[in-house]
Assembly symmetry: C2
Amino acid sequence: MKTYQEMSREELTSLRDELSGAYEAVKRKGLSLNMARGKPSPSQLDLSMDMLNVLNSGSAVNDVSGIDCRNYGEMDGIYEAKKLLGDMIGADPENVIVCGNSSLSIMYDSVARSMLFGVAGSTPWCKLPAVKFLCPVPGYDRHFAITEKLGIEMINIPMNEDGPDMAAVREYAESDAAVKGIWCVPKYSNPTGITYSDDVVRAFAALKPAAEDFRIYWDNAYAVHDLYEDSRDTLLNIMEECKKAGHEDMVLQFCSTSKITFAGSGIAGIASSSANLDWCRKEMTIRTIGYDKMNQFRHALHLKDMDGIRKRMAEHAAIIRPKFQAVYDCFDKELQGLGIGTWTKPRGGYFISFDALDGCAKAIVAKCKEAGMTTTGAGATFPYKKDPRDRNIRIAPTFPSLEDVREAAALFALCVKLCSVEKLLNQS
Amino acid sequence: MKTYQEMSREELTSLRDELSGAYEAVKRKGLSLNMARGKPSPSQLDLSMDMLNVLNSGSAVNDVSGIDCRNYGEMDGIYEAKKLLGDMIGADPENVIVCGNSSLSIMYDSVARSMLFGVAGSTPWCKLPAVKFLCPVPGYDRHFAITEKLGIEMINIPMNEDGPDMAAVREYAESDAAVKGIWCVPKYSNPTGITYSDDVVRAFAALKPAAEDFRIYWDNAYAVHDLYEDSRDTLLNIMEECKKAGHEDMVLQFCSTSKITFAGSGIAGIASSSANLDWCRKEMTIRTIGYDKMNQFRHALHLKDMDGIRKRMAEHAAIIRPKFQAVYDCFDKELQGLGIGTWTKPRGGYFISFDALDGCAKAIVAKCKEAGMTTTGAGATFPYKKDPRDRNIRIAPTFPSLEDVREAAALFALCVKLCSVEKLLNQS
């Protein structure tokens, strides 16, 4: 098999005509496919419907310490929920605050709080001439949106197979006191699906940032989101490693049950050192009397413990694994060996990351769109939506039906081919 | 009956000895009473237990427009919830965003957003040399805590029987562009229980603030919280009045179901002009993918409409009216005509406001505390916790049992008498 690069102009021209014909045929189908967002499918949400039964009009509504979960108060969250989330991410219950339905909100609030009040006693960032964050790329668009919205300068850090390029992280963080944080999705990273190696986690823990108020924003969104029960990625416990290194205040860890129970009605938490949590509480207690303890209680009663979580995640995997596989099968069949793209095959998480030929991502996304398929916008996985090589596209196969995933993957592969051949023709 | 002021030194001394004896006797009882916070009692929370049945494993989970309430998205909230909250406070559904469980959080976010980003295009307040808020006093301690935390200077505005002193409001708001807002609890005000008159609401709507980004923070927390069905206070619709006056962007209205269903697990919303809501959305969409729509759906299914809300509020009133009455009965019997205090008898809301002799509030609160009764801290109803006359105490009779309310009111009255006589003896 020839790669596209090995083809003659005539071969490419003929191929383009053939692909264009195929593309026009697909367009006539009037498809409506969406692989843009990491959303669970309805059948995944169905898995947790029993959670709606655990609290009913006959239920006891007091948590283990006797707190009436219906009433105001207990800003920290109920013990059962702290234990549940803590177990999931390797934190003691007393190092967890359980909040509302969105870990994104907790992250936003953590950064916004730092802007307004500084971090645990440091100068409020809004009073500083410059604040910078390190952003491993490709990464999570909503992280970058937070720092962009708050006027924080974002610095791209290359992402390797085992995590961010730690030499680059060290260089920036240890030399520039304006660098206040780094965004991380350490397990089944969004979008590349890789998990940080033990060495990378230890390198994080060993950082000696120039800024005392530098924090690692450790978004452990996919802590238990394994696709293969027999080959789970393992992630070293960053909080333990930081503690060992004498840097226990350096990490803020975030998590939620959004992709375990109900995406919009889960519970989310922040885990960190006592000092950091006390800093959070000082503002939280002004902002709220407490989060929704009934939903925390509902989750604790329903999921119970790590066994309950593991069982649920295996059920999720059974639904979404075939969707990932359908994408791999299609790409292997359609794109392998053509020299026009590479893609990840993660063992967990919600995304496949596709790297096209340089300069092709926007064109591919546009072509997909024109034929009725929405993907995450090209560039979205980079700060300021600027992919310097215009090549990365995030594919989210969980929400559509398996049938739709197959159709979408085929269309995507077709668009990759068509855009690649056009690019090669234009540059030759 | 003589007032305390009319008593001779000998009479006062003898009275003090008598009251001290009574107080010591109460202290020996080892009471534990709490009238500090406006919390519903367990029996009030019991009223809404059926809400836990409306969504179960067999339920349809799609709202009226077909949205799957379990999944991500729909940051604005579901239509049913917008309609429910909108009807409650007189706003069209399209002028409502339904959020999570806390209106306090929405208010905090509204002010914090203005600090960080300005109001709908204005200069971020954190870039200004001074930002000021008007605070009708006595008022709600958690409002004042927000503005204090954010470094906003608070200016006391006298509270009259019909609302804030609008001449003072006008003078400050229309002459000083640093004045960016005013905190209002317009119906059954916290803590005085008064409702703003039509004239006051119209005067608000007619304001011509010096600052274009001045907003009225209209915390309509007790919109439907009537104690007497046959003599409900009515509140003019501020949004309509502002619109008529050509100032529709001037008001941000807040509400929640915290004191309708479950205090910690209700739904809360913000209502305002399209322009203001768009401004909110620009930040909200960075902060969250959406609020808990299942809880919104649960509320809509359970409360249904205004009739459902009215019915629930009548049930609440039946429980808490006797507690308010017990306080009135006690104060009428024990304190009437003595010249040592005045108190409100609101037709709704959650509080009774007590004004002692000047300089006595802290002493009374301390005396209560010493005998096992917690009230809201003296000064809490004023910015910076500074009651210039040290006389106002907020009494929250809803949470304790009726029996405890009776005991607490008696103890409170006793402490008022004792502190008053001590004050008069000390100054004479």
